[in-house]
């Protein structure tokens, strides 16, 4: 079986490659690209004129909710949503019920992800850093690593005790295991449900101050500097957070960080009249934060873009704002939002865009993804994006079980058209029939 992706703009940040060309997939491997592949005998051809052909996207931060939260999302629906978003590798978070703190649970995740009904994307589990994510005793991290975790994290229950965090880092240095840290000083956030600022004051809601995030970032960065543990800061939201991470990198700490689309797309003012779709952790901040976050994306302080796909059932979010859970479905909107708000506005070049959505997160978590380099991925991982496709996001047309998204009804420019992981795992309805030919 030979498949030709013809005449697209090949973007591979791992090789600084940006040129119009064609890519040939034979069986489940990329066998070559360039003009010479055009002469090959092929079984099917996708005309990718005007589109980007890039390494399958890599999402370092996804909540698949299984086990325990199957009413929100399952591994099957979550991986299907990922494929539709253009992702071929995703990292799933350990805050399930029970949390991913034992090798048996990692086996379960990997089995489910490999099942034929799943979306066909690679799932790289993130294990719980402490047992039960209680912040007290370390999980059996060596066994978890052997089972296949790519990083450890306590997700939304970050370790508050600095001594335990330091010991966790020391142990992870020995295991060569990155720690992904959601940074939050929980004494400063308790009871808060949105950014502490003018809008929370107006709406009469307890706020979450910027310093709650920044204090935890500073602590974790210093511990990373002193222990040498690789630290990946999840979803930065404040200008101060970017500045702290810039300093930590300057000092030589092995620190990286991610941003999620919500934090450059919206501010606390979007909450309007208590709209729970805009409730996330850390909370939506202000335009000043967005301006400086965008600068951090441009100068490389912010390494990558994570979806922070946090699905919830509709009955869980149709409640008073303070009762609502944090987060919303993001996998199928992330490409559209990123291209609309960053690439088309000149913040990121196309090559930088794919770097932040694929190559860089793969490098940070040492995943076999994010590249067209021969042998760089176990099977061909390719995403085709039409950067100029204008469309309206419709939550009823998504694969995710969760229809809770603030992007519903939003006009976007840029859409995932095809996703290959070994074989085709997603083809968009907007990818015209005339672009596909057999023989």
């Amino acid at each position: 079986m030979r498949t030709l992706l013809k005449n697209g703009r090949i973007l591979d940040p791992s090789q600084e490659l940006d040129r119009v060309s064609s890519l040939l997939i034979e069986d489940d491997q990329i066998v070559g690209f360039g003009n010479d592949v055009l002469d090959a005998q092929v079984d099917e051809t996708y005309d990718c004129t005007g589109m980007w052909i890039c390494p399958g996207l890599v999402d370092p931060h996804v909540h698949l909710r299984e086990p325990g939260g199957e009413h929100k999302e399952t591994i099957v629906t979550g991986t299907q949503a990922a494929a539709a978003g253009g992702y071929t590798t995703i990292c799933c978070m350990p805050n399930t019920d029970p949390p991913l703190d034992s090798p048996a649970l990692i086996d379960f995740i990997l089995d489910r992800a490999a099942s034929p009904e799943a979306g066909g994307v690679f799932v790289a589990p993130v294990g719980a850093l402490t047992r039960g994510m209680r912040g007290e005793e370390l999980s059996d991290l060596a066994a978890l690593k052997r089972a296949g975790i790519v990083a450890a994290s306590d997700e939304q229950f970050p370790i508050q005790n600095s001594k335990i965090m330091m010991q966790a880092m020391e142990f992870c240095v020995q295991l060569d295991l990155p720690i992904m840290a959601h940074c939050e000083d929980m004494n400063l956030t308790r009871g808060g449900s949105m950014h502490e600022g003018a809008v929370s004051a107006m709406l009469g809601m307890k706020g979450i101050p910027r310093s709650a995030e920044e204090i935890a970032i500073v602590r974790n960065c210093l511990l990373s500097l002193h222990t040498g543990c690789q630290l990946h800061v999840m979803r930065v939201s404040t200008w101060g957070a970017v500045e702290m991470i810039r300093q930590a990198k300057f000092l030589g700490a092995p620190v990286t960080c991610e941003i999620c689309p919500m934090h450059f797309a919206f501010t606390d003012e979007n909450i309007g009249e208590f709209d729970t779709r805009f409730k996330i952790q850390p909370p939506l901040r202000t335009q000043v934060d967005i301006d400086l976050l965008v600068q951090g994306l441009t100068d490389g302080t912010i390494d990558c873009i994570a979806s922070d796909h946090s699905p919830h059932a509709s009955h869980e979010v149709d409640v008073p704002f303070e009762e609502a859970p944090f987060g919303s479905a993001q996998l199928e909107s992330a490409v559209g939002v990123t291209l609309t708000l960053l690439t088309h506005k000149g913040v990121l070049t196309p090559l930088e865009t794919i770097n932040k959505l694929s190559t860089k997160p793969a490098q940070i978590l040492r995943l076999d993804a994010g590249t067209f380099r021969p042998g760089g991925t176990p099977v061909a991982q390719v995403c085709v994006i039409d950067p100029d496709c204008e469309w309206t996001f419709d939550r009823h047309k998504t694969f995710s079980k969760s229809k809770n998204t603030p992007f519903d009804g939003m006009r976007m420019k840029g859409k995932t058209m095809l996703t290959f992981s070994g074989s085709e795992i997603y083809r968009d309805a907007l990818f015209g029939d005339e672009r596909y030919s057999v023989g």
Partner: protein
């Protein structure tokens, strides 16, 4: 589209004036025993998810004067305690054919959510720390009775502004009507960024109430001490109590108001609370008439004047 009263923030000056003139008219009619419109087809649910005596009684009196029926709903005994969501409670009341809701809830924005699921009008009787619109209307009617107008007045709201829905509703109403609003209190009890609230901030009582026409004192909750926001009741009283001594900074004819219930000896002393400058009892009385106006306004579709509908 049902008309709701969810907050003063959402009203314009004309609507506020209309509500206040309706209230003044109702007051006259009730006192002089003149006919009052009969909304006897309306059944309003009194949903107090948070304890309240004064506001609930005030709304029940208002409904009584308007010949409405009211259905009481004690949240403690309800299906909410069996795990029902607010949405389902509201839908149940909707299909039990209640025509309106008066709702108090400990969470900001809960009446807004109710208004999305209930067919008829929803009147906010206090939501979290967000708004308490009928309290602000009652306070405004009281000030107008004593001062003639709101325009140009200096009003100081003293105390725990951060946790006060009364402070927010009053700030919106008074500023929309042309008064100067000041928040006065300790830094820990004033919103850290009040830029979107129409008031200026003072941390010193003497400066904050200087030449004030009206002082609205707020109730100090005892739990602020255990939360570490204040050192002690005594220290708070020494810095922010409105009393005989501190009142001299305000205008000689300054009104002293309080939304109740009072902590005598903490935020206000007996002389300020009971003296001739106190308007606290008038606030309670006027509360009934503004609640009549609010119910009437929500249940009638046009901004018609009472005269046109009374027989």
């Amino acid at each position: 589209m049902a008309k709701h009263l969810l907050g003063i923030r959402h009203l314009n000056k004309d609507q506020i004036e209309h509500l206040l003139s309706l209230a003044a008219d109702f007051k006259l009619r009730v006192i002089e025993d003149k006919p009052v419109p009969k909304l006897n087809k309306q059944v309003v649910g009194m949903l107090f998810f948070e304890n309240s005596t004064r506001t609930r009684v005030s709304f029940e009196m208002a409904a009584h004067y308007l010949s409405m029926k009211s259905a009481n709903f004690a949240a403690g005994n309800s299906s909410m305690s069996k795990g029902e969501t607010l949405k389902d409670t509201i839908l149940t009341l909707r299909y039990e054919r209640l025509t309106g809701l008066v709702m108090r809830h400990r969470m900001s924005g809960a009446p807004t959510l109710a208004s999305h699921h209930f067919g008829g009008p929803v009147v906010n009787a206090g939501d979290g720390q967000h708004e308490h619109p009928t309290q602000a209307l009652g306070d405004a009617l009281t000030i107008i009775e004593r001062k003639g107008d709101l325009d140009g007045l200096r009003v100081a709201i003293v105390g725990d502004v951060e946790h006060s829905r009364v402070a927010r509703s009053n700030a919106w109403l008074l500023s929309k009507m042309g008064a100067e609003v000041r928040f006065v209190g300790p830094k820990t009890l004033i919103p850290s960024l009040s830029a979107m609230l129409p008031a200026s901030v003072y941390y010193d009582l003497a400066t904050g109430i200087a030449d004030a026409d009206v002082i609205i004192t707020l109730r100090l909750q005892k739990e602020r001490m255990s939360e570490g926001m204040l050192s002690s009741v005594g220290e708070y009283a020494s810095m922010y109590q409105v009393n005989k001594d501190t009142l001299r900074y305000a205008k000689p004819d300054c009104l002293v108001m309080h939304p109740g219930p009072l902590n005598r000896g903490i935020e206000v002393d007996d002389i300020a609370a009971d003296g001739e400058r106190s308007a606290i009892n008038a606030q309670v009385e006027n509360g009934v008439f503004v609640r009549m106006a609010s119910l009437y306004w929500c249940f009638t579709n046009e901004e018609t004047h009472v005269d046109m509908v009374t027989a």
